[in-house]
């Protein structure tokens, strides 16, 4: 699997990419941002994106926005961060307000509701498939997989608060990364 990275994006291309990410981001934006930035544009590697996403979750605030701001800063400073945030929020905000206004005016339109229900089911699969794809490409050692599974169980089944999961598992993740790196060097 090639992991070479293309040249850094121009400000305009970066802004447009985030507009698209916002507009197709059904079921949350992170899976779509990864698809666009890692697989389609190749501006960033799988590992690099996963690390920035991890930081975006550990920092307070919407994590997709934190990722957008950090990547924007990396490539174009303040202008890059602003471009990413306006691309990420602007277009979908217009769609959302239009949907809300239509909802107020016409109530629930059965066909629209049915289409959105089908899209929601498919989007859930998109998010699950993205996680599996990341695991496949990152090839984490067993100790690291265990930390990931703990995060998944804690959030999806135990429904623990996210700050508890992120801050509680971070030390174990760091330990697992350190231990795996040491084992790999020793081998």
């Amino acid at each position: 699997m090639p992991q070479d990275v293309a040249a850094k994006p121009s400000l305009g291309a970066f802004f447009l990419a985030y507009c698209v990410i916002g507009l197709i981001g059904f079921g949350g934006v992170n899976a779509w941002a990864r698809r666009k930035l890692v697989e389609e544009k190749r501006w960033i590697t799988e590992q690099d994106y996963a690390e920035v996403l991890g930081l975006g979750q550990a920092l307070p605030g919407p994590n997709a926005m934190n990722v957008a701001i950090m990547l924007g800063e990396r490539w174009h400073g303040v202008a890059g961060s602003l471009a990413a945030v306006f691309g990420l929020f602007g277009p979908p905000l217009v769609v959302l307000v239009a949907l809300a206004a239509a909802h107020d005016a016409y109530g629930e339109v059965p066909l629209v509701k049915a289409v959105l229900a089908g899209i929601a089911a498919a989007a859930a699969g998109m998010v699950i498939g993205t996680a599996l794809r990341m695991v496949q490409k990152l090839r984490p050692p067993p100790a690291v997989v265990a930390v990931g599974l703990a995060a998944m169980v804690g959030a999806a089944f135990l429904r623990l608060p996210l700050p508890v999961i992120v801050l509680g598992l971070a030390p174990f993740g760091i330990l697992a990364a350190w231990w795996s790196a040491r084992a790999a060097r020793g081998a």
Partner: protein
Amino acid sequence: MQRAVRAMNGDDPLWSLLAGFAAISLIAVGGGIAVVPEMNRLVVDVHGWMTDAQFAQLFALAQAAPGPNVLVVGLIGWKVAGLAGMLVALAGMTVPVGLLAYGFARFRRRLSGAAWLRLAERGLVPVAVGLILASGIILGQAAAVGWLAVALTVASSLFVWRSDRSPLWALVVGGIAGALFL
């Protein structure tokens, strides 16, 4: 002047939106979804801007629409105080934490290559991937209105995992299947 007095009394909705969402954003570790209960408390219990049912409806709408789920904050602001409310609520939710993220990005660049930071970054990766998987499972549970919806979720997972084609195909198929059968 009048606005300043009302702001001090805490009943100017724009000020309440700005301050309320700014405070909430700062505890939103793990993402905007982490603080939905806090948003519910602010909007329904503290200010009485809407009922529980209305809040749930707005949240469902924001989930169904494309884009960051945190845009529900914009919808809430819009309901409370129109366009100004929408912009102010979103500013509260994004500007303070956005500045923090920007500052962190600068700080990270200065430290780039520091061994302890590299280790911390790598250590957060499994949590990030695990939480993506969890959010997919939670979305799948919410979308599972029947066997067809479950089949759509499973098929879409396999397609996105195993195929290099655009995941948009999965959404198109899902939308058509929804229109015909759901």
